[in-house]
Protein backbone atom coordinates (compact mmCIF):
# COMPACT_ATOMS: atom_id res chain seq x y z
CA UNK A 1 0.00 0.00 0.00
CA UNK A 2 1.42 3.35 -0.93
CA UNK A 3 1.16 6.55 1.00
CA UNK A 4 0.16 8.99 -1.65
CA UNK A 5 -0.71 11.53 1.05
CA UNK A 6 3.00 11.99 1.70
CA UNK A 7 3.45 12.95 -1.96
CA UNK A 8 1.20 15.84 -2.81
CA UNK A 9 -0.21 15.12 -6.25
CA UNK A 10 0.27 18.19 -8.41
CA UNK A 11 -1.60 16.96 -11.46
CA UNK A 12 -4.15 14.25 -12.14
CA UNK A 13 -4.72 12.82 -15.58
CA UNK A 14 -8.03 11.06 -16.13
CA UNK A 15 -7.18 8.54 -18.85
CA UNK A 16 -9.97 6.14 -17.94
CA UNK A 17 -11.56 4.68 -21.03
CA UNK A 18 -8.38 5.21 -23.05
CA UNK A 19 -6.70 2.11 -24.50
CA UNK A 20 -3.01 1.15 -24.85
CA UNK A 21 -0.88 3.21 -25.35
CA UNK A 22 -3.20 6.18 -24.69
CA UNK A 23 -2.60 6.63 -20.92
CA UNK A 24 1.19 6.61 -21.45
CA UNK A 25 0.85 9.14 -24.26
CA UNK A 26 -1.05 11.42 -21.89
CA UNK A 27 1.53 10.94 -19.12
CA UNK A 28 4.37 11.83 -21.51
CA UNK A 29 2.52 14.96 -22.58
CA UNK A 30 2.05 15.98 -18.94
CA UNK A 31 5.73 15.41 -18.21
CA UNK A 32 6.69 17.55 -21.22
CA UNK A 33 4.54 20.33 -19.83
CA UNK A 34 5.72 19.85 -16.24
CA UNK A 35 9.01 20.12 -14.41
CA UNK A 36 11.15 18.23 -11.89
CA UNK A 37 9.33 17.56 -8.64
CA UNK A 38 5.86 17.39 -10.15
CA UNK A 39 3.84 14.44 -8.89
CA UNK A 40 1.48 13.16 -11.54
CA UNK A 41 -1.36 10.72 -10.94
CA UNK A 42 -2.63 8.81 -13.98
CA UNK A 43 -6.05 7.21 -13.70
CA UNK A 44 -6.22 4.34 -16.16
CA UNK A 45 -8.63 1.49 -16.81
CA UNK A 46 -6.29 -0.06 -19.40
CA UNK A 47 -4.65 -3.35 -18.37
CA UNK A 48 -1.57 -2.88 -20.55
CA UNK A 49 -0.78 0.52 -19.07
CA UNK A 50 -0.54 -0.95 -15.54
CA UNK A 51 2.48 -2.89 -16.81
CA UNK A 52 3.83 -0.46 -19.39
CA UNK A 53 3.77 2.82 -17.48
CA UNK A 54 6.03 1.60 -14.61
CA UNK A 55 8.49 0.18 -17.17
CA UNK A 56 8.50 3.44 -19.10
CA UNK A 57 8.97 5.47 -15.91
CA UNK A 58 12.07 3.45 -15.04
CA UNK A 59 13.51 3.71 -18.55
CA UNK A 60 12.83 7.45 -18.73
CA UNK A 61 14.49 8.04 -15.37
CA UNK A 62 11.48 9.23 -13.41
CA UNK A 63 10.27 7.75 -10.11
CA UNK A 64 7.30 5.47 -9.65
CA UNK A 65 5.65 6.29 -6.35
CA UNK A 66 3.06 3.56 -6.68
CA UNK A 67 0.25 1.78 -8.46
CA UNK A 68 -2.98 1.52 -6.50
CA UNK A 69 -6.14 -0.27 -7.55
CA UNK A 70 -9.12 2.01 -7.16
CA UNK A 71 -12.73 1.33 -7.98
CA UNK A 72 -12.56 0.13 -11.59
CA UNK A 73 -9.27 1.78 -12.45
CA UNK A 74 -5.61 2.06 -11.46
CA UNK A 75 -4.01 5.13 -9.97
CA UNK A 76 -0.39 5.29 -11.11
CA UNK A 77 1.61 8.00 -9.35
CA UNK A 78 4.86 9.26 -10.82
CA UNK A 79 7.34 11.84 -9.61
CA UNK A 80 8.94 13.73 -12.46
CA UNK A 81 12.74 13.85 -12.06
CA UNK A 82 13.77 16.34 -14.72
Amino acid sequence: MIQTDTHAITRTIDARGSYCPGPLMELIRAIREGSAGDVIAVHSSDNGSRIDIPKWVEKAGHRLIGVTQRDGYDEIVVEQQR
Partner: protein
Protein backbone atom coordinates in the same frame (compact mmCIF):
# COMPACT_ATOMS: atom_id res chain seq x y z
CA UNK B 1 20.59 7.68 -29.54
CA UNK B 2 18.20 4.75 -29.27
CA UNK B 3 18.03 2.28 -32.12
CA UNK B 4 15.92 3.56 -35.03
CA UNK B 5 12.93 1.62 -36.33
CA UNK B 6 11.85 1.63 -39.97
CA UNK B 7 8.39 0.47 -41.00
CA UNK B 8 7.20 -0.26 -44.51
CA UNK B 9 3.46 0.24 -44.12
CA UNK B 10 1.98 -1.59 -47.09
CA UNK B 11 -1.45 -2.58 -45.78
CA UNK B 12 -4.41 -0.24 -45.77
CA UNK B 13 -6.77 -2.25 -43.60
CA UNK B 14 -7.80 -0.58 -40.36
CA UNK B 15 -6.48 -3.35 -38.11
CA UNK B 16 -2.98 -3.24 -39.58
CA UNK B 17 -2.97 0.56 -39.61
CA UNK B 18 -3.93 0.43 -35.94
CA UNK B 19 -1.18 -2.09 -35.15
CA UNK B 20 1.38 0.05 -36.99
CA UNK B 21 0.20 3.18 -35.15
CA UNK B 22 0.43 1.49 -31.74
CA UNK B 23 3.92 0.10 -32.48
CA UNK B 24 5.00 3.56 -33.62
CA UNK B 25 3.60 5.26 -30.52
CA UNK B 26 5.34 2.77 -28.24
CA UNK B 27 8.65 3.18 -30.04
CA UNK B 28 8.33 6.96 -29.84
CA UNK B 29 7.60 6.66 -26.11
CA UNK B 30 10.86 4.82 -25.47
CA UNK B 31 12.85 7.28 -27.53
CA UNK B 32 13.32 5.29 -30.73
CA UNK B 33 13.14 7.36 -33.92
CA UNK B 34 10.59 5.85 -36.32
CA UNK B 35 10.64 6.17 -40.08
CA UNK B 36 7.44 5.06 -41.84
CA UNK B 37 7.42 4.40 -45.57
CA UNK B 38 3.90 4.33 -47.02
CA UNK B 39 3.53 1.86 -49.87
CA UNK B 40 0.54 0.77 -51.94
CA UNK B 41 -2.64 0.47 -49.83
CA UNK B 42 -0.90 1.85 -46.79
CA UNK B 43 -0.41 5.06 -48.77
CA UNK B 44 -3.99 4.90 -50.07
CA UNK B 45 -5.18 5.25 -46.45
CA UNK B 46 -3.32 8.57 -46.14
CA UNK B 47 -5.27 10.53 -48.74
CA UNK B 48 -6.15 14.04 -47.58
CA UNK B 49 -9.83 14.77 -47.07
CA UNK B 50 -10.69 11.28 -48.19
CA UNK B 51 -14.33 10.31 -48.03
CA UNK B 52 -15.00 8.36 -44.81
CA UNK B 53 -14.04 4.84 -45.68
CA UNK B 54 -15.85 1.68 -44.85
CA UNK B 55 -13.91 -0.07 -42.10
CA UNK B 56 -11.70 -2.67 -43.80
CA UNK B 57 -9.98 -5.48 -41.94
CA UNK B 58 -7.56 -8.23 -42.89
CA UNK B 59 -9.44 -11.27 -44.25
CA UNK B 60 -8.73 -13.39 -41.17
CA UNK B 61 -10.78 -11.01 -39.01
CA UNK B 62 -14.10 -12.38 -40.26
CA UNK B 63 -17.45 -11.04 -39.01
CA UNK B 64 -16.56 -11.67 -35.35
CA UNK B 65 -13.30 -9.78 -35.69
CA UNK B 66 -15.10 -6.87 -37.31
CA UNK B 67 -17.63 -6.81 -34.47
CA UNK B 68 -14.80 -6.83 -31.89
CA UNK B 69 -12.99 -3.98 -33.64
CA UNK B 70 -16.20 -1.98 -33.91
CA UNK B 71 -16.92 -2.55 -30.21
CA UNK B 72 -13.47 -1.27 -29.15
CA UNK B 73 -13.86 1.78 -31.37
CA UNK B 74 -17.27 2.48 -29.85
CA UNK B 75 -15.77 2.07 -26.36
CA UNK B 76 -13.40 4.92 -27.16
CA UNK B 77 -10.23 3.43 -28.61
CA UNK B 78 -8.26 6.17 -30.34
CA UNK B 79 -8.23 5.87 -34.13
CA UNK B 80 -4.99 4.87 -35.84
CA UNK B 81 -4.82 8.41 -37.20
CA UNK B 82 -5.07 9.99 -33.73
CA UNK B 83 -2.52 7.52 -32.32
CA UNK B 84 -0.03 8.41 -35.07
CA UNK B 85 -0.61 12.11 -34.45
CA UNK B 86 0.14 11.55 -30.73
CA UNK B 87 3.26 9.56 -31.60
CA UNK B 88 4.50 12.48 -33.73
CA UNK B 89 3.86 14.81 -30.82
CA UNK B 90 5.89 12.86 -28.26
CA UNK B 91 8.70 11.50 -30.41
CA UNK B 92 10.68 11.55 -33.61
CA UNK B 93 8.34 10.07 -36.23
CA UNK B 94 8.92 10.72 -39.92
CA UNK B 95 6.22 9.58 -42.34
CA UNK B 96 7.21 9.41 -46.01
CA UNK B 97 5.17 8.38 -49.03
CA UNK B 98 6.78 5.95 -51.48
CA UNK B 99 7.20 7.76 -54.80
CA UNK B 100 6.36 4.65 -56.83
CA UNK B 101 3.11 4.23 -54.90
CA UNK B 102 2.34 7.92 -55.51
CA UNK B 103 2.59 7.17 -59.25
CA UNK B 104 0.53 4.01 -58.90
CA UNK B 105 -2.31 5.82 -57.13
CA UNK B 106 -1.87 8.95 -59.29
CA UNK B 107 -1.36 11.14 -56.22
CA UNK B 108 0.40 14.47 -55.92
CA UNK B 109 1.86 15.97 -52.73
CA UNK B 110 -1.31 18.01 -52.19
CA UNK B 111 -3.42 14.85 -52.09
CA UNK B 112 -1.74 13.60 -48.91
CA UNK B 113 -2.87 13.72 -45.30
CA UNK B 114 -1.01 16.37 -43.23
CA UNK B 115 0.55 13.57 -41.15
CA UNK B 116 2.70 12.72 -44.17
CA UNK B 117 6.02 14.61 -44.04
CA UNK B 118 7.10 14.07 -47.62
CA UNK B 119 7.71 11.79 -50.57
CA UNK B 120 10.82 9.68 -51.05
CA UNK B 121 12.17 6.81 -53.11
CA UNK B 122 13.15 3.40 -51.84
CA UNK B 123 16.84 4.25 -51.61
CA UNK B 124 16.09 7.14 -49.27
CA UNK B 125 14.05 4.72 -47.18
CA UNK B 126 16.95 2.27 -46.82
CA UNK B 127 19.37 5.07 -46.06
CA UNK B 128 17.04 6.25 -43.30
CA UNK B 129 16.60 2.67 -42.04
CA UNK B 130 20.38 2.47 -41.67
CA UNK B 131 21.37 -0.32 -39.26
CA UNK B 132 18.06 -0.29 -37.36
CA UNK B 133 15.27 -2.83 -37.43
CA UNK B 134 12.81 -2.90 -40.33
CA UNK B 135 9.18 -4.02 -40.09
CA UNK B 136 6.88 -4.80 -42.98
CA UNK B 137 3.22 -4.37 -42.14
Amino acid sequence: MDEPLAISLFSGTDDKLQAAAVLTAGAAAVGRPVHIFLQYWGLDAFRANGAPRERLLAPEAGPEGLAAVEALATAGQASWHDTLAQAKEIGEVDIQACSLSMDLLRLGPDDLDPLVDGVEGVTAFWLAASEGQVLFI
